[in-house]
């Protein structure tokens, strides 16, 4: 039987992180990009918790994970508000079309 250890957690978080990156890079929709960011944040959370559990760091990892969750919520709120404003301005939320900064 195989033992679930730190390595497995890290593998999961790596997969999650990669999916997040993939989502951010490939999705056109800004909301989907935000969701990719959530995935990355959660990958980081898994890392924190895993290291906290398998290392002698007490529960500081879990606490930071909680902070990250709160941060993610706040971030999501602000980001969605921005997305709404973008939509108001450009009538779509496709990130590849919103490139007026280029000029």
């Amino acid at each position: 039987m195989f033992q679930v250890g730190l390595t497995q957690f890290l593998i999961v978080s790596t997969i999650l992180f990669s999916l997040g990156i993939y989502g951010i890079v490939t999705r056109k929709n800004a909301v989907m990009v935000l969701m990719g960011i959530e995935l990355i944040l959660n990958a980081a959370n898994i890392n924190f918790v895993a290291f906290s559990t398998f290392g002698n760091y007490g529960i500081s990892g879990q606490i930071i994970a909680l902070f990250v969750v709160i941060l993610a919520a706040a971030e999501a709120a602000i980001a969605l508000a921005i997305v709404l404003n973008i939509y108001k301005t450009f009538t779509n939320v496709n990130v590849d079309e919103i490139d007026s900064l280029k000029e």
């Binding site: 951010i24 890079v25 990009v33 990130v95 490139d99 007026s100 280029k102 000029e103």
Partner: protein
Amino acid sequence: MTESLLLNLSLLILFLPLLGFTVVLFLGKKFPKLYLFEVGIITTAFLLSVFVLFAKLSYFTAQDIGSSFTWISMSAAPLLGNINIELGIKIDNITAIMLFVVNLISFLVHVFSIEYMHGDKRYTRYFSYLGIFTFSMLGIVLTDNLLMMYIFWELVGLSSYLLIGHWFEKKSAADAAKKAFIVNRIGDIGMFIGILILFTHYKTFSFDIIFQQLSLGNIPFNSEVWLTAAGILVFMGAVGKSAQFPLHVWLPDAMEGPTPVSALIHAATMVAAGVYLVTRIFVMLTADAMLVIAVIGAFTSLVAATIALTQNDIKKVLAYSTVSQLGYMIMSLGVGAYAFAFFHLVTHAFFKACLFLGSGSVIHAMHHEQDIRNMGGLRKKLPITYFTFLISTIAISGVPLTSGFLSKDGILAGTLAFGKLTGHWLIPIMGFTVAMLTAFYMFRLVILTFHSEPRDHHKFEHAHESPFVMAAPLVILAVLSIFIWYTPNPFAPDAGWFMKDWVKTPASVVPVETQFDFMNPSSSGNHSELHREIVHSPLYTEAMHWAHYPAMALSIFLAGMGILVAYLMYQWKKINADKLAEKIKVLYNFSLNKWFLDEVYDATAISGTTNFSKFLSWFDNTIIDGAVNGTAWLGRFFSKLSDMFDTYIVDGFVNFSAFFSGFIGLSFKRLQTGKVQTYIVFVVFAVIILLLFFKPF
């Protein structure tokens, strides 16, 4: 009677005409009557000069009065060191006599001009010019140094220029004025160099100090050549001003001026300034210099006398006779007959002024007709003019009982003695020839003008005797041409007070070995004393004695011959003048055309100068302007070069960096897509690369 009184009076005489000049020149246009002021001033100056003459000759006969002050003092002048330039006046007997002569003739000419110039456009200006002339001439007479001499020398040149060109609307008058001025400059250059030779060596301009140094054996640059050169160069000034060959050409042309001016300036006073200058520097002339002077004087008198033979303009005849007589004086100084030269200067001044004023009277009467071929018979119409003219003519011809006889005879005796002592017999031969020629052409003039039949009846009918103000000066001057004023014995000038007491030949101060033997008093005496009683060597006295009677007899004979021939040719018509002229046509034309000297000068000096100035103009246009233009071209070339450097190198560099930045910007611009995803990809790959690169694990 004190010295300071005489000095002050002399200064007053000197500056009064200047005052007249200034006042009349600036106010004359507004107050046309001011010419009377000028006449009054000259009258005053004349009366004062009479007083000075008598005071000087009776109270200070053997004493010179002088005064000077330091004008410029320099302690470290470049090349010269410590110099003091002094101005001052000196009154000796010669000065006193000259003061009198100049003022008298100036006064008479002023009076004469009142009528003669009446109605002239520039009447007051004419009188103011007479004023400045008198001032300058008196300055020459009074000065005790070479610097003031030179200054006043140039001033008389200026006033002569102004007065010759009085009728400057006439081209001939304007040209004559220019010619006089320029020809005089040539002589003055020499004079200036001579003065500077003396000044450089002695560091003073004063006659007395220079002569004193000379008598102590201190000669310029320790070389007799320099001393001779200085003498001849200063004499060059006299060559110009006294119209000596080869610079005499200006004087006949100067007759374009008003006739009273010719009488005052170009006959009696200014042209005599050259002679006066030579009398001043007489003591520093070496034997060589004196010989040069004698030869130039003799040759001048001969040239001028031959030209005067054939001239037909009454004033031209008188002008050449003036040149001839001036040559006489210069020759006389050259042969060492100093006192006779000055004596002749004085007597000549009177009778020549009389002749010129007389000719003025004739010209006035004939309504500005000057050609003697159109005159004749004027004796009846102008009796006063005729008699005064005749007396002066007799005087200039050297007929006994006149002043001219006394002075001319003395000069001829001097040349004869000189010929005997040195063997230069050509000089007395020229002198005696001139004496005969003078008598001939002067009587030709008188006969053609006053005797014979009137040739232009219309003008003759209208001729009238001149009024009192014109006649009176003639009479006064004619009276002064009689012997009695100069000596009681009409055959012995030495016996008179003029020669015996007043004018004495000063001893030469140049080293004995450079003097003529006869100039050197055998009793060499005390050289440091300035006013030496002059005793010529017994040799000279003996020679003069030997020459006295032959010279007198010969000169009377020659003058008589000249007069006789003139009468034969023109009065009694025994000899046909025209046929004679035809026979010796070559000589006649040579004389009529003034030895072709003007033509020679035209061909040499004038065209030479013109060509030289043309060359200079070419040089200016081609070389100088070429150099300037070349410099400009070079400047333009270099600025173009620098412009190109700016445009292509500096600007090119700047533009290139701009272009390069733009290029870089453009290249990197492609990375900045504005798409967040792209950036994230970059970041991820960057992190991966960094991780691979630094290998933290």
